[in-house]
Amino acid sequence: MMRLVLSGLRFYWRSHVGVLLGTVLAAAVLTGSLLVGDSVDGSLRKFALQRLGHIQYAMHLPDRLVDRSLAKRMDADCAAALLLRGMALTDEKQINRVQVIDAEDSFFKVAGVDLQLHPYEIALNNKLAQALGIGIGEEVSLRMERPGLLPGEAPLSAQNTDRTVRGRFKVVRVLGNDELGRFGLAANQVVPYNAFVNFQWSEDGMPVEDKANLIISSGEDPTAVFSKVWNPADFGLTFREESGVLQLESSAVYLEPEVARAALSIPGAKGSLTYLVNSISFGERSTPYSFVLAEQSNALKDDEIVINRWLATELDAVVGDVVQMKYSELVTGSLFVERERDFRVAAIIEMKTLELDRKLAPQFPGLTDVDRCTDWDVGIPMEEDQLEDEANEAYWNTYRQTPKAIVSLKAGQQMWANRFGSLTGIRWKNTDSVENQFLDLFDPAVAGYRFVPVREQALESVEHAMDFGQLFVGMSFFLIVAALMLTGLLFVFGVQKRAEEMGILLASGWRPSRVRNLFMLEGGIVAFAGSLIGSFAGIFYTHLLILGLSNYWKGAIANSSISLFVNPGTVLVGAVSGFVCASLAMWISIRRQSKHPARELLMADFLQPPDPRLRRAGRFVAPVLFVVTCGVVCWALTAEMQSVTMPFFSAGGLMLIAGIMLCRDLLSLRGRHRVMKSPAGLALRTLARRKGRSLTVIGLLACGSFLVFAVSSMKEDIVSHADEKWSGTGGFVWFGESTLPLRDGLDGVNLRVLDGDDASCLNLNRARQPQLLGVDPSVMSARQAFILDDDVWELLKLDLPEGIVPALVGDVDTGMWGLEAKVGPEKGDVLDYVDESGRAFKVKLVGSLPMRLSVFQGSLLISEKQFIERFPSEAGYRIFLLDEKIEGRRYERAGLDLVRSVDRLLEFYAVESTYLAMFLVLGIFGLMVGSAGVGIVVLRNVLDRRGELALLKAVGYRNADLRKLLFVEHGILVAAGLAVGIIAAAVAMVPALFISKSAISIGFLIGLLLTVVLSCLLSLSIAVGLALKEDVLSGLRNE
């Protein structure tokens, strides 16, 4: 048998070359597509490793500070830095959203970069240097957030001091991607703007000394070492002893919940809370702005107050009198409301008795460190004339922060506890072993001081990143199928040509299976060779795709540069898949052919009338499918579906099958028509003769034109509805994003921001913890912004059990693709987050903004109330939705960038638009293969029918008549294929047009149609020209 196989291969080498080329094409496209996936994965992995250098673990505390010495005490593999948001400025330019890394040399060493910076020297990454247009030796200024010990919105936090700090630096190095130029902790392939400066500078220019908010480690998990070396001072905690009383206090004034829990569990602990009240009054007499101490005391009821002698005198109050206390309560954000509470004077205490309380009073920057009351700079609203009260000034000068009154801790916490804490100190009279007990009881990890395996997480994000291999296989699917159909077609031609041989073998007693195996073996060898060559040619195809991605389709990979990564396993998979697919196509062809009995094969006449029962049944298939398609379209339109994918592919697929079946029926009908009246009738009769061949061509062109036209129609016109409130802009004209928060926001809708992973289509990595935005849902509801039917903002007010925070996904695409998550009040996915104090909490995706694409793509929206409860230190607003443009220069110190909302949408849409463009190009390639298929079919038909054409010539047909006949014959196939594809695309697009309100460019579609028709006609002309160039009359010879 092998001998026969080899001689078959030799003798029919011309046919086999065609089959081989088809297989090569299919295997190359398949392997190439998979290799694109490898390349994107490999590149993302490279980016992830580049952005972290040698860093394995990191403790990043965006809103808190730790002592820098902590890193030194831990290990040689650890280093500390301050990671700050800032802006870079030259005389001409300002670049916002710069990541400033305030580091010492050990940081670079640990991160694996050979870099040394002296004070006032700066290293910029390439991206920032290019954006600023500066190089080594030139100067640049940085303005960055001023890290503070007390959160910006905390009561009694200084407000008037500049919250930014500025320095001028000399550029000494421009860092490439391999030199930590990509440094960043978020899983994102987009290079941030990075500026590295020396720590020494921050000590000179910052209000905090020896502090850091980032500790990195390049060694083993540093958690164990960390747990051994930390001390309370690392977290700004101090044990202060005054006159035999020990007090635990925090440089952030308010004690964090975990600190308070650990300390209060030490025997003898008594909590205290000190606050500055607005006034204490009795009758007509009053004193403004007084420190009041709330302390744990059994002797004091919650409606009782102890006042000091000075106050008793000032108010002329005695024991038993009821005094009124006015104070500012922090209700939300930085909004204070003045409240009043009455207390009965339980005792009057002498001033000297309060000496200890004066000494133990918390230190409020801007309050306790100024000389005059009028210089006080606190976060609560104050009245100027009250600050100038002379008696109060005299008290301040004499007694400083000595409390004027004392209330019970419970009463104090009822009045002044806020999201930053409910204690300013914890005191012990017995000081023995308190500090040691605290070391045992306090768990920094519970308080959020924990190391995260950033490298592992980065690689995990890459692992779960979008599968570009799958994407490209999907996009090249038609091209692959077209190549396989072409392979099958060419193989069928070869097999049909050898029908006689097949018949002789069967007539000689070969079993059909053996005959099939013989042909299959021959085809298999060709398929194997084709797949092998194709899989290597796939590397070249990948090169082409990467070239396209780097130059024309940058949007699809968010402007990242992708390098070629070839995984031998993938090449093997491509080769095997190509071989299997090609073999399958051949097997189907052989099986169909070998079904004919030997007699028919010997006569090479396969024209048998189909089973009439099947024919009758088949007649109903097309109409039934058409009705089902209409049903799918109506259902998609009425079921309020968000995604067009399912109805598109269902309706499109059904319509394609219906169309092809209809063509089959029509061909059968024409085939049975009694007498043909013209050469066109003869053409139809010929088409009906080889229905399989004709339907393959129709199917090839129909699928290609369906994809190309449907994809072209999917292009949405983002701009046309952008001013509508239900659109992705919410009706807002401007979208603002500031580098540093604006405490009072802008005149529009203001959102708080917790930095996180970008889950938008611009990030190729899988987002683990998307950015959280805090928004006031009532404001959005009132403006009807982003509302299509139901008010989704109401979902943010849901009271979920176990403190779960309800969240809305930024848009439908973020939920579907960015997070691949379910959304809904019941079935919504739950994500894990950690609040500012280190406590874990859950965020449930209760809904999504109803549009496919919005300005919030990639983020989760939660209510502002929930946001500030969990992230009290994230002061102010960083995202703004505005109706009118504001003067940007006013906010340049905050690094405010304003873009038109529609431009932001277009930026996101560029990704989808690029995918569509890629799909279109690959679809057009597929159509070209389809057109080539038409040409090959024409050539093959002509060769098969040389005798027939010669006869026609002999009976008086001219070459022009024959050309016309062939054109009509194959033109009908082309027209039918295109018509079926275009009608299917039009039907499939109906739901998309209504659901996503797509806008189709008719001009573009007509242009596309003309291009496709012209390419088919060209292919047809070439094939007919070539076929008729030969001596047609040779077909009359008797051999």
């Binding site: 006569m603 006449d605 024209l607 085939g671 009694r674 007498v675 043909m676 009246k677 013209s678 050469p679 009738g681 003869l682 009769r685 010929t686 009906a688 003769r689 005798g947 027939e948 010669a950 006869l951 026609l952 010539k953 002999a954 009976v955 008086g956 047909y957 001219r958 070459n959 022009a960 008549d961 009359l1033 009359l1036 008797n1038």
Partner: protein, 214 residues
């Protein structure tokens, strides 16, 4: 009606096939052309049938010099004046018997369906009108080919070994049919054959030797 004067034909390699051949056929005359394989019989038939051109010499049919006709006129001339029957029937497998017969007439505006039916009835195939070639015997197929050749009422019927693929009985029947039609239609018949028995039934037998008819 056919006058061939001093025609010559050479093929690739400069092999002379026809060397100054002269030949005349009268209207209604039946002539058999015999000769060894490869002697140029089919070439002569193709030249007479305007499917090929001589390198030299003239061919006149009904007084029309074929050399003076362009491709379009030649095709029309062939369609109207000449009928062909080949050894292989060259029927279109996708078409029925009736349709195969009508193929040459498709180029003409008027319908030839009635004549086709009459001719098919004449050759005993009226019951096979809707059958396809695959459903016919060899003799039946060749009869359809003959009817196809006559559909446009040609004045000259050229038959290139029409009985070559038939058995003796089938060959005799076809021969009979051709002679009957020759009489009924008053057309000239030139038949190339290897069979001296069949050739003997025709009016005249010429033999091709060394590129000439004798």
């Amino acid at each position: 009606m056919l006058i061939i004067n001093q025609i010559e034909k050479r093929y690739q390699g400069n092999t002379a096939v026809l060397t100054g051949l002269n030949f005349k056929v009268e209207q209604g005359e039946c002539v058999a052309v015999v000769g060894e394989s490869g002697c140029g019989k089919s070439t002569l038939l193709n030249i007479i049938g305007t499917l090929d051109q001589p390198d030299a010499g003239r061919v006149l049919i009904d007084g029309v010099d074929l050399a003076a006709l362009n491709e379009k006129e030649l095709a029309a001339f062939r369609n109207e004046r000449i009928g062909f029957v080949f050894q292989l029937h060259h029927l279109l497998p996708q078409c029925s018997v009736l349709e195969n017969v009508l193929v040459p007439s498709l180029l003409r505006p008027d319908s030839a369906e009635t004549r086709a039916m009459q001719l098919l009835n004449r050759v005993g195939l009226s019951h096979r009108l809707d059958h396809r070639p695959g459903q016919l015997s060899g003799g039946e197929r060749q009869r359809v080919a003959v009817v196809r050749a006559l559909i446009n009422e040609p004045s000259l019927l050229l038959a290139d070994e029409p009985t070559g693929a038939l058995n003796e009985r089938g060959a005799d029947e076809l021969m009979e049919l051709l002679l009957d039609l020759n009489r009924e239609e008053n057309l000239a018949l030139i038949m190339v054959t290897h069979s001296m028995r069949l050739a003997g039934r025709l009016d005249r037998v010429v033999e091709m030797i060394d590129g000439k008819l004798k």
